[in-house]
Symmetry: C2
Subunit: 108 residues, 2 copies
DNA sequence: CTCCGATATATCTGGCGCAGATATATACGC
DNA sequence: GCGTATATATCTGCGCCAGATATATCGGAG
């Protein structure tokens, strides 16, 4: 198997952050909303990804304790993260093309 | 996460069998050839799938001991298997559409 | 003022899909 | 007789992810 599209959850998280800085809960909501419920990003999948993103320097996380809100950690894509997303995008495009070729050949 | 596209290997195996009955080794070769090497279906993934396909009545397997060839088990899609493939196809289409909508929105 | 649901982050567990390694056996060319 | 390609099969380990669980705060309903 090709390893393209290895982790959907990672791709979706990067996609959410590409629109602007967000905290975990917000990313999860964004994914559900923007995909009309088709995709769901569970917290059990999301948080480890967020930590890895920060650890690998793809996103910068900063605590927002601004008054009257429970503490939330806001993540913003770094330049490296934007590049990683671009890579994921082209991987996805290749994957989709490969599938389309296969699907196109057999039975219109 | 949506469970669409849960198993690429299964989809690829069904796709190979849709073109005509094949045995395991042949399915693996077909996938590599038709995708120009983009996809690879390892035997460790393929054989368990083939057994499950037979067990679930999606494919019928029959041993071919015809003279001068090592014994090979040829699988052919059943009506149920063809329906399963049609379902996989439409699942894939939905998945691709969902991704395209998401990708289209952020950064054309 | 208390309960409850929504917000919010986080970890742990188990299941599943798959690649790679390994085992076994036969056909064919050299 | 030997190596390579053909052929089926299982086992192991790793990575991804859903669901369960824990903890804490905020705002509104009662």
């Amino acid at each position: 198997m090709s390893d393209a599209g290895k982790s959907r959850a990672l791709f979706l998280a990067l996609l959410a952050l590409a629109e602007g800085p967000k905290h975990g809960y917000e990313i999860s909501s964004w994914v559900s909303a923007k995909s009309a419920g088709f995709f769901t990003l569970s917290f059990g999948a999301l948080y480890p990804i967020l930590h890895k993103l920060e650890q690998d320097g793809l996103a910068r996380g900063s605590w927002d304790n601004s008054g009257g809100a429970r503490a939330r950690k806001v993540y913003a894509l770094t330049a490296k993260g934007k590049k990683a997303l671009a890579d994921e995008r082209s991987s996805y495009r290749e994957l989709a093309l490969a599938f389309d070729r296969l699907l196109g050949e057999s039975k219109g």
